[in-house]
Amino acid sequence: MPFPGEAKPPVGIVFDSDLGNGVDAALALALLYGLEGKGEARLVSNSTTRSNLNSAAFADVLARFYAGPPPAAGARGFEREMPPIGMAETGSLSGDTAVLDAVLEKKTADGLPAYPRGVHKLNDTADPAVLIRNALTAQYDANCVVVLAGPATDLAQLMDLEGALDLIKRKVKVLVMAAGSYPDGPVDFRVKADGAAAKRLLAQWPTPIVAVGTEVGDGLPFPGSSIEKDFDWAPSHPIVDAYLASEPMPYDAAAPSMAAVLYAVRPDGYFKLSAPGTIGVLEDGRTSFTPAADGRHRYLVIDPGQKEKVLRTYAELASAKPVPRQFGRRPNQNKNDEPPPPEPAKKP
């Protein structure tokens, strides 16, 4: 319950992706950090379904980059604490990619890593299911959106935890999943990579689901021209490095995960929604959509009249400069929590 006079915080976003598999998930995170910087959202959990330490390390790099410069050495007060990154141990995707290599192997002129990272080994990461469960416990009811931008492996494991379904039902407004093609279309690798998990997720997830298909990602691609001009405020930018490594320039990157994030935080004014129905997963990995009045699934539809606005928003927010967090006081700390002044020394 909020304390008297305390406003409900911005929506909490649980972000689970296949980070490093192309540039879409990285762009979506950049967009999310941009929205966080504007105070419209909070990234409360960040995990990767790739069983690859470099994918988790990339997520950590982005978290550090968007947190702004670290406090000066020896500064008093509460130190900056980087949030844990979840990483699947048994995910279906595992290899390194050109995107991951480009970011993590980049060096400064002095030969040092261009981007500091805090993930080096397995125990620098968290179990995604536990990380997401713990994040949800700290959210107000119905003040959280889960964004899935990868295979459903981690969310399926989340549902297996004791009490998780009830928790999800209470805390999560909607699951926005960037996977599939709607109302029908080709196989999406994010579904096929863990078809069993996708089937379970669609059948058992206890909140409404909004799917973002490949057709939305292809129809609203991130403009490559933005990479060349909007990010130049940073001498070295991990999103630019990832973008350049993903495909030969010039290209506009398919961005279904960006659409998912934008819809999760700003559900009105950018997209249309399909009628309700039920999404299923076919044997070959394609998705199907069956309209049904009582269905809990919908899919996102491009609103042609909003296309320019969407692309402008992508570019503006994904390229926004980091807004440093306040590190002097922990969240949820109030004045009653101040330590009492030390007792004066007494003579023996």
Binding site: G77, N123, T125, V130, D337
Partner: protein, 447 residues
């Protein structure tokens, strides 16, 4: 006591004049024919808790794997490093604010063994059954006391001890039910009477009147002792003598504390008979826990060294500032130094206790080998009130089921309740779920 040529019963007592003294594990308790069948002393589970977090960079060893040189706080534990397992990254999510605002001290101790997000209240308290009490129920018919709750400071059960959290949360570890904490015994005499008396705790005045003519409890059971000794072999006689001597020594220390009670520092709030000196008090209480384990009076103990959030000064160390204010050091070196000294002092007391537990033989093992003693805190960084990477060590190998002498760092956010599940399993209690556990902790190194 009925002494025959048959094997001595494990739960035999020396009795006399209202006193009952349990016996340690003796060879005579194992029938000759059963020796080969590996009759075993019981396994015990204990938690020793310190408040206000730890200076973690002086607690965590630099490396995972086999323990080498230990950091400053644990220096005195180095002789015991082959008997300890240090665990990293264990987390109590239910100790975090989770929308309940301030009160990390109240929450961290309330959730430490319950795994529950306790209700923020000073009136209608609500936590959960703690893992020690789940085990206590399981072994209740096998020992005189299902569990012992021991402490050294402040057993208040009412009032606001942290930002709206009842003192019941900060001052107890053991919870028999959602609404019934089990307050720790703070007074050495009270603990002694509980272990060896007839259950009646005498008032300080009555105790004082009796002081002039009080005899040792061993005098009361002298006749039984002599009868038993006549039936024992030399090894058992020596064991029994050492055991009874340790009881006598505890008695002497209690008497000494009671005599010097009037001379303690007037700034220290100490009930009658509680030693003014922290180390002396610790030794007394830990010695009695040891005796209780030896005599199989109980197999489950919680030991709260000081209450969570305590502002106790440590004048023994020349620290007149309160413990809690010091932990909010805001990176000031002089305050960090004070907290480090307090942390080191606590660990030094533990090291002394571990040495004692190692020195006692039980069958072909040491008493410590038949134990799981968890030493730790409900906060890691007391400055920031962090509930992750809780300082946790398991002392003793639980009859060889835990490989000690190592440090294991689990994945971040690994639930502390996974450790509780693993310990309960070893105590014979299998549970699928406890708190926010995701499964039993495996004491294996991560790949």
């Amino acid at each position: 006591m009925n002494i025959t040529r048959k094997a001595l019963h494990r739960r035999s007592f020396l009795r006399g004049m209202g006193a009952a003294v349990g016996l340690p594990f003796l060879d005579a308790m194992v029938p000759a024919m059963a020796l080969a069948r590996a009759a075993r002393p019981p396994l015990r589970m204990a938690f020793a808790y310190v408040p206000n977090g730890i200076i973690m960079d002086q607690w965590n060893p630099a490396h995972e794997g086999r323990l080498g040189e230990l950091p400053r706080i644990l220096k005195t534990m180095e002789p015991h490093r082959d008997d300890i397992l240090m665990l990293g990254n264990l987390t109590h999510n239910t100790g975090r604010a989770l929308l309940d605002g301030a009160g990390d001290h109240g929450r961290c101790s309330g959730s430490y063994l319950t795994g529950i997000q306790v209700k923020k209240t000073t009136v209608d308290i609500r936590a959960g059954v703690s893992c020690d009490q789940i085990v206590a129920r399981h072994v209740a018919d096998q020992t005189r006391f299902p569990s012992l709750e021991v402490g050294m400071e402040d057993a208040r059960q009412a009032g606001d001890c942290d930002s709206g959290y009842s003192c019941a949360y900060t001052n107890n570890l053991a919870w028999k039910s959602e609404t019934q904490p089990l307050p720790p015994i703070l007074n050495p005499r009270a603990l002694f009477e509980r272990l060896f008396g007839n259950g009646v705790i005498l008032s300080p005045e009555t105790q004082a009147r009796q002081a002039d003519y009080r005899r040792s409890i061993l005098d009361f059971v002298g006749e039984d002792t002599r009868k038993l000794e006549a039936t024992l072999g030399p090894t058992d006689r020596r064991k029994l003598d050492e055991y009874l001597s340790s009881i006598r020594e505890v008695e002497r220390q209690i008497e000494r504390a009671e005599k010097t009670n009037a001379q303690i520092d007037p700034h220290m709030e100490k009930p009658y008979g509680v030693p003014a000196d922290f180390a002396e008090h610790f030794t007394l209480m830990s010695d009695m826990i040891t005796i209780a384990f030896q005599a199989d009076l109980t197999r489950v103990v919680t030991f709260m060294m000081t209450r969570e959030g305590t502002s106790r000064p440590y004048r023994e160390l020349g620290i007149s500032d309160g413990h809690h204010p010091c932990t909010h050091h805001q990176n000031k070196p002089e305050l960090i130094e004070k907290v480090t000294q307090i942390n080191t002092y606590h660990a030094t007391q533990m090291a002394g206790w571990v040495a004692k537990l190692k020195s006692i033989r039980e069958g072909d093992r040491r008493l410590l080998d038949n134990m799981m003693l968890v030493y730790g805190a409900g906060l890691s960084d007391g400055n920031r009130h962090l509930h992750e990477d809780l300082p946790t060590m398991v002392i003793g190998n639980a009859r060889g089921t835990i490989k000690t002498g190592r440090r294991i760092v689990y994945r971040r956010e690994t639930p502390m309740c996974n450790l509780h599940l693993a310990m309960m399993e070893r105590m014979g209690v299998h549970m699928e779920h406890f708190g926010d556990a995701t499964g039993q902790l495996t004491f294996a190194d991560l790949a």
